[in-house]
Symmetry: C2
Subunit: 293 residues, 2 copies
């Protein structure tokens, strides 16, 4: 997915959010934002928006020396999700694949790329809504594809959210799954450290993309990841960042996310706040925007 | 009031809003935003935020040829307010100076500088709330100052809103008032044309600032306005733009506005959405931010 005009002010805001997490010094925050704006002006706007997160991270590092401004937030939301886990597990255990799937998508609300503040109450409300709201997409087709696949690549998204993923992993045959996290700090996206902390490494094989990007852009990824990507016969891609970078015509991919920004909602052909399950071969309403760059 | 870091993404968004009003061409919109970002990076951030509206207007003009992107919106909200006027007048006639003052401040919700979309329902809701909500400031002190003054300079704000001003003007001795609008297109701020359309010219002497800025920066204003400004013994300044540019220690000024952005609310020492009546000599909580530039 290419940048849309709405991405420009959003990236400016995102750079300020990241700068604020790194430092309380307002002059330094301002330097970060100015540096990002400077690069944004000449940035190739045919690129997917998550690539700008690299620019923001670099500017934050350069101006503040902070390598991972989201580390405290990631720890906080991992802890919160782990604290919630017994309750979530009870909901998922009592019921069906569908419930686990819904909770797994609900976890995607823990996203600091689109919102500076999510908040515990928002997460709790999203869980409640997720159990009853209509899903934009086909849960049954997704379940069938999981059953039929021999080699599933699951590309995870955010810290905290990955704890929710455990619920669905418990319903699947983990032996055929490779679970993928980011190769380095990228917003509040989960890395190997988070996967271990959240108890994922004990249940499934975990690798990383090799890139500190909140999405998957193959040319930035490691050889190891690219090979795993090629070999998979089904790909589960969670979150907006993966959707924004991988929305190709690759029919192996199922995108699972909460639509938290209008640009992504338009591109996916859904409404803001929808819970989305999309398979590439179904096409996207948003393709009409393909030429906006 | 100087720029705060939050102003940077907000200006980026404002430039896109203005560009969208001027053209549907997404490439041109993007050029406007990029041009504004380019100038923002080197802009003197000790300036009050409304000065950036000049930069945005110039970029829109340069890229799209459109001189007044807000003209349609201004007409629409003048019409809407005129349509509401008999109802508003009834509310104000039946009651006190206080009611007219409240409705006059409520009209400040019609602001396209802080929000891209206000909407009719938002205006109607604001009117209802305004009649009952607590005012941050002293309505009685304001009324007393109006009674005691011989020469009042009333600096107006937005199209549509100026119709609401008529309610309070009806409670005052209009012979001692000079009503001031902007000297040219500046967001959705009222100009002479709007003042005439909204029926202000029939009840009070109207002049303009001589500057197409959504606020008052004296060095940009005409000699005529500056003289009127000097001579006044009381100044009524409506809206955030006037507050952002005139928040000096000039104790003649009473600021009347709805706080619609957090930066302004912080500076005025009030909450978001508050109805504010502030006189400079009362001081502002926000003075602590004076050194942020």
């Amino acid at each position: 997915m290419k940048m849309r005009n709405d991405c420009l002010p959003c990236i400016a805001r995102g750079s300020l959010d990241a700068a604020r997490l790194a430092t309380e010094d307002e002059d330094l925050q301002r330097k970060v934002v100015k540096q990002v704006l400077k690069e944004l002006i000449t940035f190739d706007l045919n690129s997917p928006p998550p690539l700008m997160a690299l620019v923001i991270a670099r500017a934050v590092k350069e101006m503040t020396g902070v390598d991972d401004p989201y580390s405290r937030i990631k720890k906080k939301y991992n802890d919160f999700a782990l604290e919630l886990f017994p309750l979530l597990e009870k909901k998922a255990m009592d019921a069906s694949f569908d419930t686990a799937l819904r909770l797994c998508i609900a976890g995607n609300i823990i996203d600091f790329g689109t919102h500076a503040r999510v908040g515990r109450q928002k997460v709790l409300d999203t869980i409640d809504e997720a159990l009853v709201m209509e899903i934009n997409g086909e849960g049954e087709a997704f379940e069938k594809a999981c059953d039929n696949a021999d080699n599933i690549l699951w590309i995870a998204d955010n810290a905290g959210e990955i704890v929710f993923d455990r619920l669905l992993l418990q319903k699947l045959d983990c032996r055929k799954i490779t679970y993928v996290v980011r190769g380095g700090p990228a917003q509040n996206d989960a890395t190997l450290e988070d996967a271990e902390y959240a108890g994922l490494t004990g249940m499934v094989k975990v690798i990383d993309t090799g890139a500190a990007i909140p999405g998957v852009i193959l040319e930035y990824c490691s050889e190891r990841f690219r090979k795993a990507y090629e070999k998979a016969d089904m790909i589960i891609a969670k979150g907006q960042g993966n959707f924004e970078t991988l929305d190709s015509l690759d029919s192996r991919i199922f995108f699972l996310f909460k639509a938290k920004c209008q640009v992504v909602a338009d591109h996916a052909g859904c409404r803001l706040d929808d819970m989305v399950i999309k398979n590439s071969h179904q096409g996207f309403a948003g393709r009409k925007f393909g030429s906006c760059g």
